[in-house]
Subunit: 443 residues, 2 copies
Amino acid sequence: MEHVVIIGAGFGGLYAARALRREPVRVTVIDRRNHHTFQPLLYQVATAGLSASDIAAPVRRVLRKQKNTSVLLAEVTAIDPAQKRVIFEDGGIGYDKLIVAAGASHSYFGHDEWAAFAPGLKTVDDALEIRRRVLLAFEAAERETDPARRDAWMTFVVVGAGPTGVELAGALSELARHTLVREFRHINPCEARIILLEGAGQVLPSYVPELGEKARQQLVALNVDVRTNCLVTRIDEEGVSIGDRRIEARTVLWGAGVAASPLARTLGAPLDRAGRVLVQPDLTVPGHEDIYVVGDLASLKQEDGTPVPGVAPAAIQEGRHAARNIARTLRGQPRLPFRYHDRGSMATIGRAAAVADFGRLKLSGFVAWLAWLFVHVLFLIGFRNRFVVLFSWALSYVTYERASRLITGETPPLVEAARAPALEPRKDDGAAWTRPMPEHART
Amino acid sequence: MEHVVIIGAGFGGLYAARALRREPVRVTVIDRRNHHTFQPLLYQVATAGLSASDIAAPVRRVLRKQKNTSVLLAEVTAIDPAQKRVIFEDGGIGYDKLIVAAGASHSYFGHDEWAAFAPGLKTVDDALEIRRRVLLAFEAAERETDPARRDAWMTFVVVGAGPTGVELAGALSELARHTLVREFRHINPCEARIILLEGAGQVLPSYVPELGEKARQQLVALNVDVRTNCLVTRIDEEGVSIGDRRIEARTVLWGAGVAASPLARTLGAPLDRAGRVLVQPDLTVPGHEDIYVVGDLASLKQEDGTPVPGVAPAAIQEGRHAARNIARTLRGQPRLPFRYHDRGSMATIGRAAAVADFGRLKLSGFVAWLAWLFVHVLFLIGFRNRFVVLFSWALSYVTYERASRLITGETPPLVEAARAPALEPRKDDGAAWTRPMPEHART
C-alpha cells in the first residue's frame, strides 16, 4: 500500500488527511505541535477573550477514528526528493507521495532584529506571548510613576492593517476600554492608545477600497488611531520609528509580513519572491510529480492571473484537491488542475463590527459580524470547542468580560525595566511609588 | 486612614482583602502573579482536563468593585518590620498593618537537584509544565523503537500520596486508559504504568487509616501501582531509586514536601521546622503586633495540640480572622484568638471516586466524589469558571475526553533525547523508525 506523508496539520494538511480516509493508502501526518490551531481565532487568545484550548484540537484526536492514519510529533528539517525521504531533527521517514503543508511564519522584511520587540501571531505560543505582553503593560503602567514612561506602557502599536492587524487592534481597544476599566487605581485603561500602522494606502489592502474604508471607520469608532501610508523604519524596545517620526511604545505587535516555511528551499523547486513554491496547476512541484504543496506554502496563479490567496478556505480546498489527485493517480486517472472557489472573505473589527465580501454582496457592521461568527464557529473542529467558544462569546458580548486574562511564564521586574539602566538597587524607588497612594485613597 | 498591605492573593490573602472591604482602611494586595489560582483543581490542568483559565481568576477582577483596595503585580523579596516596609525586587511600599499570606512551595527534603526532574504542583505554570511532560512522554513513546526506552517513557512515577499525589495518579491513569486510547498506532496507552510512592505506611497519611485504605483500593481499581513505606533516595533524568531498587521512568512528578515561602525568614520571627512562622493565637507575629501571618505560611497549634492543617479552608478562615482582628484593633477592641472550624477534608481519586471525612460522616466512592465536586465548584471564584468547569466535567464524564490537551512551549527532540548521547546526526534513525510502519498498516 502506498505511503502518503503529510507535513503540517494546519488546514491544508488536516483536510488532505481527512480526504484520504477511505483511500487504499496509509497516511502519516507529521507536525511539530500536537495540536491543530484554528488560526482565524488566534487574535482572541492574544487578547484574552478565549483560552488556548478553545481554539486548538489535538491532531491525534481529530484523526483518531481514521484507521489508515498515524500522527507523529516531529520537526521536519528537510525533504530529500531523491531518496523520497522526509528528514526530522531526530530521525526520518520514507514516502511514496508527499503533501507539504508546512505553512508560513512572519517576515520582518529583512529586519529579523525586530522579532524580539514585535511578536507576530501564527501559533498558540505566539498568542500567549502577546497576551502576556499586553497584560503586563497595563500592570507596569499601574506601577509606573513617571508620566512619559507610563504613556509608553499605555501605547500599543500594531504594524500592518491586514485582517490580523485589524482584528488585534480592535480587540485591544475593547480590552482596554471595556474589560479592564475600573480595575486599576492609578491609570485609566481607557486612555490606552492603540495605533494601527499600514504601509499601503488603505486598511485591509487585499479588500476592495469600499470595505477598507468601512473597516477604517469602524476602527476609528473604537478609538483606534489608524495611519495608512506609514512605512516602519525601526522597531526597538522603546518604540517604533516611521522615518523621522517616533512613537514611544513598550508594546509593538507584528501583523505585516508573511514568510514561507524554510522547508520550501530544501525541495530544490522554483520559489516566488516570498519563498513559496511555484506549483503546477495540479499542485505538484515541477519535476516531482509525487510531491504536492498546499496552503500558505504554495504559490499558484488562477486563470484570471490573480494569485490564490493565503487564507484558510484556500488551504482547505488545496489540501482536499491534492488528496483527490493522489487518489486519481492510484487509479490510473490523470491529475486535475486546481480551481479556487472564492466563497468570500471576512475580517472582524470588534464587538459586532466586521466587514465581509461575498462578491456581489458586501456587508459591514453587525450583520457582517454575525456572518463572521457563524462561519468561524462552524469551522471550529470539535463540538466542545464550538460550544465553549460560542458561550464565551455570548457572555463577553453581554458582560464585556474576557475569560482568559492569565499572565503565564516569567514576570520580569516591571519598574526596573521601565527605568534608564540602573544596575544598583535604587532605594528611593519604593518611596517614589508610594507617593501616589494617598490620592487613590481619596477616590 | 490606615494602610493594610496583604502579600499574596491565594485563599488567605484574597479572603482577608474581601473581609476588609467595608472597613475604614485602604488595602493593597500584592502578588507576583496577576491571577488567583484555585489550587485544589490544579491537578486537572496538569492532566489536561481543564484549561488554565478555568481555574484562575484575575486578582483585579475579583477585587474590582472593592473601592478601598488596589492590586499590585510585584515580587516581594523581603519585609522590613523596623521601617514597616515591604520590599520588592523593583521598589517597595510602606504599611501600617501587614498580612503575610505568601504560602508555600515544594520542598525536596534537601535534594534541590531533584526539582529539574520531578516538578511539583503549586502554580498554573507548574501545571502547564506537568501537562507538557506527560503529553510529550506519550508522543516520545509512540516514536521510540527500543522497547526498554519505550517502557521508560510509558512509566509515570508520582512521589508522595498526599491529596495532590493521589489526585495526580488517579487522573493520569484515566488520561492513559480512557482519553488517549485508540489515538496511537505503535503504543497502547493502557499499558502506561502509574506508580504512586509514599514514604509513610498508608495512602493519604493525614487521613484516618480507614479512608487511606479506601483510597488505596480505589487507586488500585484504576490500575495505579501503589507502594507505601517507600522512601525515594534518588531522582534523575532516567528514573527513581528507592534504596537499591530502581524504577526507570522518564516522567516523575513531585507531590511530597512543602516548604514555606522564604519571606518568613526575613521577618526575624521564630519558625517551625518547615520554615513556617510560629504565630500567636491571634495570628500576629511574636513581637510585631501589626504583622499577621495566615495560610500555609503560618504554624499554629489548636487547643487540642494538633496543628491547623495546610488546607484551603484553614487559609480562608485565617485570612478572615486576621482582617477581623485588624478591624477590632482599629476600634480599640482586643484581638481574638483564632479557632479553626474543621468542616471535613476530601480528596478525589478519579472519575466518580473520592474519599471524604466530615468527622462522624466518612464517605468514599461516588457519593464522596459528588460531595467533592459540589464543594469545589461552589468555591470556584467567578460565574463563568463555575459554569465552564461543570460543563467540562459533565462532558468528560460522559465522553472521557479531556478538553485541554495542548503541548505549549518548546518541544525538545523526542528520539534524540531518548538515546545514548549521539552528537552526530544518525542517518539510521529514520530507517529504524520506519520499520514498524508496515505492521501498523496491517491493523
